[in-house]
């Protein structure tokens, strides 16, 4: 099992879009190592002949007719929790930074 490094945790934090502090990264690096050590036992029993289960109750794809029903949110309802809006649209910050 590979050791987890602080650089790796910083990379994961970037992928997960959480601006962790240096202190949090240090703390998580230790904890993650301990947790992964505790859970890696799954490898012992997960032999190639065992099929994986993703869903507890076997189900086929569930389809419905592709029509708009009357129980969808109105634009006003959908925008009611937005931190910032412009008319019927959500406002987001710039997609590209100056260096891009």
């Amino acid at each position: 099992m590979p050791e987890i490094s602080a650089e790796q945790v910083a990379h994961l934090a970037n992928l997960a879009r959480i601006a962790l502090t240096e202190e949090e990264i240090a703390h998580l690096t230790t904890e993650l190592g301990q947790i992964m050590q505790a859970v890696e036992q799954v490898n012992q029993v997960a032999t190639p002949d065992v099929p994986p289960t993703s869903h507890p109750i076997p189900m086929q794809n569930v389809f419905r007719a592709d029509v708009v029903t009357d129980d969808v949110l109105s634009p006003e309802q959908a925008l009611s929790g937005a931190p910032e809006r412009d008319g019927d649209r959500f406002v987001v910050s710039a997609i590209l930074g100056e260096e891009q």
């Binding site: 992928l15 959480i18 993650l32 859970v39 065992v50 994986p52 959908a78 910050s93």
Partner: protein, 513 residues
């Protein structure tokens, strides 16, 4: 005992009976519970939000409908508390997180809509570990809930608020969610009843998702019959949740009313009957089994060799699914937005918002899940965990070929002290050792009171598990055991709980409020 004191101690079924006979109005019953919340919730902190005005309005509407002779559901007019994981129109829904502080959703979760349509009266929203990640409610961004049996101890989690609210007589019923034990373990430590129905029995639409393949909504109550009545209200297919089961369900309340364990085969899971469980927890567990045996049940030992890997698999599957589900908190459509000093791109704003809005346990699990899903590690971790899931299901299949239901202690210990395990995530995760297998396999489980541990006088629960779709078997065995135990005790276990008004006074005097 005043009239109001008497009303809050009735079971939901008893209160419904009095409402139906016109002996009490829903407004009176609702006001009695609101008064109780005002008196004790400063000490218990089961509620994040109390909607007194809305509750009294809903109660008055039920009273009006009853007076007009309109047809009403069996529980119409009975108050209910709602775990904050369920979105509610007109009431803030935070899932215990700062990132959703003050958010009022534009729609009701399906179980909430169903309880409203059945005439139940929502009192407010209950406390929980942030996004249901925890076993003690200490990970709530709004401070912990206190166990009504001992205010220095945890009420369990993640649904500690719902369990404490019914244990403290602040509500006769509550809704909970169970991803790895969040309904059943709080029931165990608070002397109450909690049921995780079969995966898909209750719609997850409007339940703020933790791990979509494990989450299930269920009842939190003081009696088995009340849990059955509530499950009968909330269960059923919902086109808004494509994983909800389409078949109709038999009445769970009927199963309780006809409860009989004559000839019932009960399997004791050998791997969950070990020294790893507190002495008093095991003692009450075995006494319950002996009582069932004396009343006609057959007790046999069964093996579930892969259960020992269940926690490990769970702590890979849950973070993986959670890291994906929680990506929706992007600071654009709802929730907190934090802009870094001097502005930033949408990605920087999102990272700053999530850094400020998520607590330590949520960050820990998102990072863990992101790691388990990364290229190069996916097969070793997430893939292997899914295989363990198959093995756990096979253990259940083999056991249920021999017995009708399985029995285990619900959790390894009675309620521990607040703060005791907060800095040790792995010790905290072990609380769910007996409850997690059911979530991995999708099978239903119930926890009901089995007594008080002799060594510390704290409540102990017993868990029963049944095959998927056989929830009625849990209500049968649970209803029968509850009746037998209460005959021995001379009343419900919660009658032995300390008087909270005294506790509140002490806490105030000590300046702890």
């Amino acid at each position: 005992m005043s009239h109001s004191d008497e009303l809050i101690r009735l079971s939901a079924a008893e209160l419904a009976g009095r409402l139906g006979r016109g002996e009490v109005s829903s407004v009176e019953a609702t006001q009695a519970h609101l008064d109780r919340i005002a008196a004790v919730d400063g000490a218990v902190h089961a509620f994040l939000h109390v909607n007194a005005e809305g509750a009294l309005r809903a109660a008055a509407e039920v009273d009006r409908a009853r007076a007009a002779g309109e047809s009403l559901g069996e529980l119409a007019g009975v108050p209910i508390a709602i775990k904050d994981v369920l979105v509610t129109e007109g009431m803030p829904s935070t899932s215990g997180s700062k990132i959703l502080e003050g958010w009022i959703p534009p729609y009701d979760a399906t179980p909430v809509r169903k309880v409203r349509e059945a005439g139940l009266v929502p009192l407010g929203k209950t406390n929980m570990d942030e996004f249901a990640m925890g076993s003690s409610t200490e990970h709530s961004a709004y401070g912990p809930t206190h166990n009504p049996w001992d205010l220095d101890r945890i009420p369990g989690g993640s649904g500690g608020g719902s369990a404490a609210s019914v244990a403290a007589f602040e509500a006769p019923l509550a809704l909970g969610s169970d991803t790895g034990g969040s309904i059943r373990q709080p029931a165990h430590v608070t002397g109450t009843v909690g049921v995780k129905p079969t995966y898909g029995a209750v719609s997850r639409y409007g339940s703020i998702a933790l791990a979509s393949s494990l989450d299930q909504i269920g009842p939190v109550t003081r009696t088995v019959l009340d849990a059955a009545l509530l499950q009968d209200v909330i269960a059923g297919h919902d086109p808004h949740d494509s994983t909800s089961i389409a078949e109709p369900w038999p009445s769970m309340a009927e199963a309780v009313r006809r409860a009989d364990v004559q000839g019932l085969r009960i399997g004791v899971v050998k791997e969950l009957d070990t020294d790893g469980f507190q002495t008093g927890v095991r003692q009450r567990f075995h006494e319950s089994l002996e009582l069932l045996e004396r009343n006609g049940a057959e007790i046999v030992e069964v093996e579930a060799p892969n259960f020992e890997h269940a926690i490990a698999a769970y702590y890979l599957i849950l973070p993986a699914e959670a890291s994906s589900n929680l990506a929706k908190f992007d600071s654009v459509r709802f929730g907190l937005r934090v802009t870094p000093q001097g502005g930033g791109t949408v990605e920087q704003v999102m990272a700053a918002s999530r850094e400020a809005g998520f607590g330590p346990e949520v960050k820990r699990r998102i990072i863990l899940g992101t790691y388990a899903l990364s290229a190069g590690y996916y097969d070793a971790y997430y893939g292997s965990a899914q295989k363990v899931r198959t093995l756990v299901q096979r253990d259940f299949d083999q056991a249920f070929a021999k017995v009708d239901v399985l029995a285990t202690p619900t959790a390894p210990t009675t309620a521990f002290k607040l703060g005791e395990k907060l800095d040790d995530p792995l010790a905290m995760y072990l609380n769910d050792i007996a409850t997690i297998p059911a979530n991995l396999a999708g099978v239903p489980g119930i926890s009901l009171p089995a007594g008080l541990a002799p060594e510390d006088g704290l409540p102990v629960g017993i868990q029963f598990l049944a095959p998927a779709r056989q929830d009625a078997r849990l209500y049968n065995v649970g209803g029968a055991l509850e009746r037998l135990l209460e005959a021995e005790w001379g009343g419900p276990l919660l009658a032995k709980a300390p008087d909270l008004s005294t506790h509140e006074l002490t806490a105030t005097e000590e300046g702890a409020l």
